[in-house]
Every structure is written in C-alpha cells, then in structure tokens.
Amino acid sequence: MTAAILVSIFMTLAAAATPILLAALGELVTEKAGVLNLGVEGMMLCGAVAGFAVAYSTGSVPLGLLAATLAGVTAAMIFALLTLGLGSNQVATGLALTIFGIGASSLIGAGFVGRTITRLGPLFPADYAAHPWLRLVFGHDAIVYLSLALVLAVGLFLRRSKAGLILRAVGENADSAHAIGYRVLAIRTAATAFGGALAGLGGAYFSLALTPMWADRLTAGRGWIALALVVFAAWKPGRLLIGAYLFGAVATFELQAKAAGWSFIAPEVLAMTPYLATIVVLTMMSLGRRTGGRDAPACLGKPFPAQ
C-alpha cells in the first residue's frame, strides 16, 4: 500500500470520528453534571439542518456552523426547561427531543433535499500538505483541530479547574453541592447547553463537511453511538478520543470494503457493523468491569431537588 493511500484512509477515519467525538464530548460534560440527555441524536439533526439551511442560503460555511451550534443549544434548552425547570423524566424527555429533532429536521430539510453546497475545506493552504505524510498534520478542516483542542480543554477543565470540580460535585452529589451554596440547576443548565452546542456542531459536520448535501436523517443513529461512547470512555475525555477514532476506523472499514466491491459481504451487513460493534464494545466493557456503571456520576439522571 502506498503512503498516499494510507494517509487518505487515515484522513477518512479522522473525518468519520470527528462528529461523534464532538457530540460525545458535549454529552460527557452534561453527564458529569448529573444530567442524562438522550436527545443527542435529535440535537445533532437540529444542528445538521440549521447548519445546512444557513450555509446554503448565505453561502457561508462558518455562518452555518454558528447557526448549528445555536440550534443545538436551543434544542438543549428545551430539554433543560422540561427536565430541570419542570422536573420531567430525563429519559422520556431525551427521547422526546430525538423524536422532535427527526421531525423538525425532516420538515425544515424538505426544501433542501438534493441541494449541494461547497463543503468545508482544509484549514491550511494546500502547499502545507504537499507531502502525503504532512497531510496527516496539516490536511484537516478546522473542526477536526477544534475537536482535538476541545478534548484537551474539557479534560483540563474537569480535572484541573475549580469550575470543573464544582461541576463534578453537582453530578456526584447534588444535595451536598447545594448545601455548600452551589446553584445546582444553573450549573446543570450550563452543562446541558454545552452538550447541545457540541451536538449541534457535530451534526453540522455531517451536512457541511462529510456529505455536503441534505438527506433525511443524515446522522443515521450516530447520536446514539455518541451516547454509548461516553459509557465506553468511562466518562474520561482521553478515552473518548480513543473510542471515537476506533469508531472512525470501523466506519472507514465499511467505506473501504464498499469501495473495493467486496462481494462476499453484503452491503447491508457492512452497514450493520457500527451498531453491532457498539453492542459488542458495551458488552465487553461490562464484562471487564463486572459492577455495571461504577464510573458513572452518582447523581446521573436523578432529578434535583429529589422528588
């Protein structure tokens, strides 16, 4: 295999990993604050359609990315209003958010089906990446770099900053955090908003970078895989990065096998692999741990104040 092919495979891998890395990183912060938002898929779809609609209408991909982030935050705020404000069940409300995202994106996107845009290009000029191996470093679009920087930032924030400590305290023991004067609901709302922003951005990566055209249900369950990834990563940003790139490898294998025309595996079987791999990975995680979800924040999914 030539270097050029290897490099291009890795480029595809990074692109496939980026949207779920973003969405999972946002959900990780949300869950660290004790909020289980199962609406990731819905928030991603809101971001995907808002990003595409704005980029198509204005011709500007950066504006599209901004709109997608805002759309993700807006969707997350609906969730926060219901669960944190009105005390509704987090699982049910997350499902509602996903059903909403599917419906809303399909409705807004109906006018855009089949339209194309100029996709988000590499951040650095082409001559930086003239050599194939240099493409690995300089050949990505801005969002890939942003996602990597965010992993580092979130990791440092959670482990080293006082604000991160408070956020974790709210997720581990909301009552104590409240007793020593922290505003549990405000902190949870902020963490949920951050999760929405990254899910929206991750969704827009599908419609603005991966496939620069609109199709219904573009994210194809990647939001759910992002949720599984948080479990796989045991709520640690570094492991999230590994998990997302492993997932990217599975997705790239699927693409490569299709492109190579492997006739002994049906394309439908290849399309199943990401979902089957997720189940296998979740199972192996539990086999290795034996105590089911010991790493999860203690107050994950529990309402505050307790009902």
Binding site: S88, I99, F100, I102, L107, A220, G221, E268, M272, S286
Partner: protein, 358 residues
C-alpha cells in the same frame, strides 16, 4: 401574582386532564408555527386533528393505524412502569414481521386455517427474541437496555433490506426489492365483508383488556409496579427485579413482533423496504399519552392515529409536508411531559402579606 405550590398528593384530575391540555397546546402551537412559516395554520390544524374524526370514511383508517400502536405501546408501558426503557420496539416490530414472513414464504404453496396463527406465533417469537438480547445483557451484565435495544433496531432494518434485496426477493417482482405477495391464507381477513378494517383491530383491543387485567388484578402486574416505583421495597418484598426485566422486555418484544406480523399480513401484504414506518417510536408517545395504562393507551393510539390520517389529509389540502406529522407528534410529547408538572404542583395566588390591624 401566581406561584407554584407543591401538592400534598398527586392530582388525580390533572393526571387525566393534562393529556387534554397537551393536545390543546399542540394544536395552538402547531397553528402558530405553521402559520408563521407560510401555511394556512388554522386549516392545517383542522385537517390534522378534526377532519379524520368527522369524516366517517376515515374511521376505518383510524382503526388500522391505531391497532399496531396499541399493541406496541402496551408492551412498552409495562417496561416503562418498571423503569425498563425498551426503545427498540421498531426493531422488534421489524423482526416479528421478518419471522412471520419466513413462515409465509415456507407455506406459500399451502392452504389451511393454521397458516396465519403459525405466522402470528412466529411474529411473537421473532419480536421477543430480538428483545431477549437487551434483556440478557441487562440482567447478566447491567448493559443499558436503552442503547442495546436501539442499536438492534438499526441492525434489524438492515437485515430486512438484505432479505428483500437478496434471498427473499420475489423473482417475478420486476426486480423490485420486495418479497412475494402473501397468499389468501396468509392475509389477515377483514372484520366485515368489504371493510378495510382487518382482524388486527379487534386483536389489539382484546390485548388491551388482557393487559389491563394482568397489570391491575394480578400479582405479576403488582410486582412490575413495585419494582418501578420502589426498587428497594421490591427487594424486601421478595420481588425479583431481574424477572421483571425479562418479563417486560419479552412482553414488549412479543407484542411489537405481533404488531409487525399483523402489518405485514394486513396493510402491506408483503415485506418491502418501506416496512419500518416508525410505529415503534410513535408508540413511545402513545404509552405516555395513555398514562402507561392499557385503557389510556387505546385512546392515546387513537389520537396518534388521527395525526397520521390527518397528516395525509393536510398534505393534499394545504400542501403541508408529510414531515409535519412527526413534528406534531413530537410537540405533543413535549407538552405532555411539560403539563405533567400540574400533577405534582398547582398554580395558586400568592398569599398577600397579612396587614396589621388598624
């Protein structure tokens, strides 16, 4: 000024009123939203929520759409009561249809009264088997059934695509990806001569009655409720949470599988790539709208059936895109979850600070 006051007891009245309030708010919001984006909002809402109810020729359609929703939601509600979140009913619905269709393809050249019951049995087993995987992983390894059941939905849909494009493709089907049409002994009969209503509709109602009996009159139903409401007390009382997990997932999967087979042998008459129509997800809304009670679910399914049938009417009358139905359904669930606050809290006038006597 108004303020929220916590109720001492959850309000029974609000438990039943809040779904109605949610429906009202959905209609109002829908009218405003669709008006704002350039449709005739009032006509759209009328077409979706009112027309299907006042035109008798649509009633058969309502029953046919409500039947699978009732069946799937009954199973899901049992789980939701016990805090088992099976959200992969769509996959179990597809696997039930696949298993039943397998029997249909094997018996295609035969006739007999036993063929449809055999298909139905295969449907139940197929759906339950697909739900057994999340159940096993949950009970043995504490893997979240939310994620596994949903992942398996994507797998089931791809499996369906594989079958109808590959081994099960009808050789006389002009290269369309679909199975053979089912024979007369494999198709659900109509309830009455010339009616569009098939036998799945009375079966759904019957199942709702059975579920009502099991949930409110038997120890098994009681165990489900206790495990969901007070897991610690359930352990003390000797109720086995694992058994409840198994029961909830197998019942949910079996009912979804039966619904899938009845759709395949009823409205579809074959398997095609269009078969996964989202009933498994809509049934989640039905279960909540019906307050997780079997009788409520029958009404909840009718409301959602109205939005489906009405959505089609609005498509032809006010050119509302079909995706609007999904939006209305999601709005309904949001408002339902939001108005639930009224069950536990009430709005009251803020008491004025007492004035000192002159």
């Amino acid at each position: 000024m108004l303020e929220w006051r916590r109720r001492r007891e959850p309000s029974k009245a609000m438990l039943y009123l809040s779904p109605l309030i949610a429906i009202g708010l959905t209609m109002l919001t829908g009218m405003l939203v669709f008006g704002a984006i350039g449709y005739d909002g009032l006509r759209a809402v009328t077409a979706i929520f009112i027309t299907p109810l006042i035109e008798p020729q649509r009633w058969a359609d309502l029953g046919v759409k409500a039947a699978p929703l009732i069946m799937i939601a009954l199973g899901l509600a049992i789980g939701f009561r016990a805090n088992i979140w099976n959200i992969g009913a769509e996959g179990q619905y597809v696997m039930g249809a696949i298993a039943g269709t397998g029997v249909a393809l094997l018996t295609h050249d035969m006739t007999g009264w036993w063929i449809l019951p055999a298909m139905a049995l295969a449907g139940v087993v197929g759906g339950a088997a697909w739900a057994a995987l999340p159940a096993l992983l949950k009970v043995r390894l504490q893997v979240s059934e939310i994620l596994t059941s949903l992942m398996l939905t994507y797998v089931a849909v791809q499996f369906l695509y594989y079958l109808v494009r590959g081994p099960w493709k009808d050789p006389d089907g002009f290269n369309f990806p679909q199975t053979k049409m089912f024979s007369a002994s494999q198709t659900l009969p109509a309830v009455a001569e010339g009616s569009l209503v098939h036998f799945g509709v009375p079966i759904a109602i019957l199942l709702a009655l059975v579920a009502w009996f099991v949930m409110s009159k038997t120890v098994a139903g009681y165990a489900v409720r206790v495990v969901g409401r007070a897991p610690a007390a359930a352990r003390h009382g000797g109720f086995d949470a694992n058994r409840v997990t198994w029961a909830a997932l197998l019942a949910g999967g079996g009912l979804a599988g039966l619904a899938g087979l009845l759709e395949a042998a009823g409205p579809f008459g074959q398997l095609t790539p269009q078969f996964p129509v989202g009933y498994g997800f809509t049934a989640i809304i039905v279960a909540f709208l019906g307050r997780l009670s079997p009788v409520g679910i029958v009404f909840g399914a009718l409301v959602l059936a109205v939005t489906y049938v009405g959505g089609e009417i609005a498509q032809s009358t006010v050119r509302l895109p079909s995706a609007a139905t999904g939006m209305f359904q999601a709005l309904l669930l949001f408002f339902l979850l939001a108005t639930d606050v009224l069950v536990r809290w009430r709005l009251a006038w803020k008491a004025r600070p007492a004035r000192s006597a002159p």
